[in-house]
């Protein structure tokens, strides 16, 4: 089962896309930060075996997509990346799947193009302000504008940044049941490290987008009530062992949707890697 790999060109760079054939509506899988489309590698076979078309891509600045230093990375750019992929692949209807920081792209796409969305699927993600939300410390550091000088210094000092990354990874890992920790260390950690460690990679996109986190959440909060008239079904599949985007975050968001479903799994922040079979089974009902 090999995907058709292609690059979708935008004026800001080329987006790396993998397209697995199957019947529509296609699942369009989106990653958060700081990772890339490979966080879905264990889940994709489950969806493909279910006969569904699956599209997965790396946002500009991440993974195998272009990482031009001269463009401005933003949540808006990510929403446009999704639109560009959907248009280039001519997907008339789709299921946008948001994880982590791509929740806003999934939901805002549905609000902007309700006629093209068969249903929305969110995995441990966020959208607007939520009483239960707890942002990972690494993200908070880069999202706090009064700490910009310090976070910039830590980002440009490899030793400092690696220390921060390891600390944050331990916080996610420690919250997992023992049985899932090795899996976390051999799947999520290498993807994150490949994206961020070393002297290039996604650091620029990561720091620029993270800096816009709080304004983006505020902007989305103002759109929460627009979700009411949306008839698109929404499925929330949530790992219960996420110490930051807890099931409380899903429960805060749920009432804004007309027909929401919440499925909780014994998994962490990356349920698609911790429990791919369960996530696949639940997604195929979307």
């Amino acid at each position: 089962m090999s995907p058709r790999e292609q690059f979708v060109a935008r004026s800001q760079g080329r987006i790396f896309v993998r397209d697995y054939p199957g019947t529509g509506p296609a699942f369009v899988l989106m990653h958060g930060f700081p990772d890339d489309g490979r966080i879905y590698d264990d889940l994709i076979p489950e969806l493909v075996q279910g006969g569904r078309r699956v599209v997965v891509f790396d946002f500009l600045g991440f993974g195998r997509s272009d990482k031009r230093p001269d463009i401005k990375y933003s949540f808006t750019l990510q929403l446009e990346d999704l639109e560009a992929v959907v248009d280039a692949l001519d997907l008339t209807t789709l299921v946008p799947v948001g994880h982590d920081a791509s929740g806003p792209a999934a939901i805002n796409f549905a609000l902007d193009h309700p006629e093209r969305v068969a249903s929305i699927c969110l995995l441990n993600s966020f959208y607007g302000a939520s009483p239960h939300i707890r942002i990972p410390e690494l993200i908070t550091l880069f999202a706090t504008t009064s700490l910009k000088a310090l976070s910039t210094a830590m980002l440009s000092d490899t030793e400092q940044f690696d220390w921060l990354l390891r600390l944050q990874q331990s916080a996610f890992c420690d919250a997992l049941p023992k049985s899932q920790q090795t899996r976390f260390l051999t799947t999520v950690v290498p993807i994150m490290n490949a994206n961020l460690s070393g002297d290039h990679g996604s650091r620029l996109a990561f720091s620029q987008i993270t800096e816009q986190l709080f304004p983006e959440v505020r902007k989305n909060t103002a759109r929460l009530l627009q979700l009411g008239p949306l008839t698109v079904p929404a499925t929330f599949i949530w790992g219960q062992h996420d110490p930051y985007l807890t099931t409380g975050v899903a429960q805060d968001l749920l009432p804004y949707f007309r027909s929401p479903k919440l499925e909780c799994l014994p998994a962490g922040h990356w349920p698609q890697l911790d429990a791919p079979r369960d996530v696949g089974r639940l997604m195929l009902r979307c």
């Binding site: 410390e137 690494l138 706090t144 700490l147 000088a149 000092d157 220390w163 600390l167």
Partner: protein, 290 residues
């Protein structure tokens, strides 16, 4: 002028959680009571004191509980109320009927709140680059913000517990202060204030617990003090603001705003940084004594 040429008597003042260390330099009252911020200690006044002493003034300086040579009892609870209590204890135990509280950095909070609580026992207030109330235009030092922001508590604790990380942060923060100084002041800053702060943490027991607790309460204390702003307008006490203009974190705008919040305040601008009393001690002394 070096401070070791000036005589002082040493005192230890008992407080409920431990004793605080004070130095009393003889002279005419009202005594100037010099206070430090965090994370430093009374030695930040060493370069200035000889100038005040030569002018014949009594000077008292002390380390707040948890800092410098004051006690750092295991399990102590540190707070801005406790720091205000330290200042009251100094004035009471040394029988200082009237004082001039002199604030630097975070001790601006104790200085103004002392004047509000005991207006009859304050001759005037002097504030060097220091904090009092909330100010959305201020960029607080990143190290303070990191330790003051509750959503980053786990990260701050991890940094504090890792000597390598904490050392890196301390050095980086010192560079931010140092880089904004004119070339001529940089060397003294680097060789004097830098080690003074590092030593404050390295000595055992060190100022780490007091720093962590005080920083964690910093934003709430500023917010609380914002409610006192209407009271400042009716405070008759003269307040002299003496401000180093090369401070990247407490810029002149802070001093100008504070002057407008006070009933009776003046502002003297010094071509110096955050620790102006060590960058330009002569000019600061002149402004204090004028």
């Amino acid at each position: 002028m070096a401070n070791d040429t000036v005589d002082f008597s040493e005192r230890r003042i008992r407080r409920t959680q431990g004793s605080i260390y004070a130095r009393d330099y003889a002279g005419a009252g009202p005594a100037l009571v010099l206070m430090h911020g965090f994370p430093d200690n009374l030695r930040i006044w060493d370069d200035l004191i000889p100038y005040l002493n030569v002018a014949g003034r009594r000077v008292v300086t002390f380390d707040f509980l948890g800092f410098g040579a004051s006690d750092k009892p295991a399990g102590a609870t540190y707070s801005f109320e406790q720091q205000l209590g330290d200042l009251k204890a100094i004035a009471d135990e040394l029988h200082l009927e009237k004082i001039v509280p002199v604030a630097h950095d975070s001790s601006g909070i104790a200085a103004i709140n002392y004047a509000l609580e005991r207006p009859e026992r304050v001759d005037s207030v002097i504030m060097l680059n220091s904090a009092y109330s909330e100010d959305s235009t201020v960029l607080w030092p990143e190290m303070i913000t990191l330790f003051a922001t509750h959503s980053m508590h786990a990260l701050a604790v991890a940094i504090a517990q890792s000597p390598g990380q904490f050392g890196w942060l301390l050095k980086w923060q010192q560079e931010q202060f140092g880089n904004s100084l004119p070339e001529s002041q940089r060397e003294h800053f680097t060789s004097f204030i830098g080690p003074l702060i590092s030593q404050n943490f390295l000595q055992q027991p060190g100022a780490g617990p007091a720093f962590l607790q005080m920083a964690a309460q910093f934003f709430q204390a500023l917010e609380r003090n914002s409610h006192n702003l209407p009271l400042l307008k009716s405070l008759n006490t003269t307040v002299k603001l003496i401000w180093g203009k090369y401070d990247p974190y407490f810029p002149l705008a802070v001093a100008e705003k504070r002057r407008s919040q006070l009933a009776n305040a003046s502002l003297t601008v010094i071509p110096a940084g955050h620790w102006l009393q060590t960058d330009e001690p002569g000019q600061v002394a002149r402004a204090m004594l004028s």
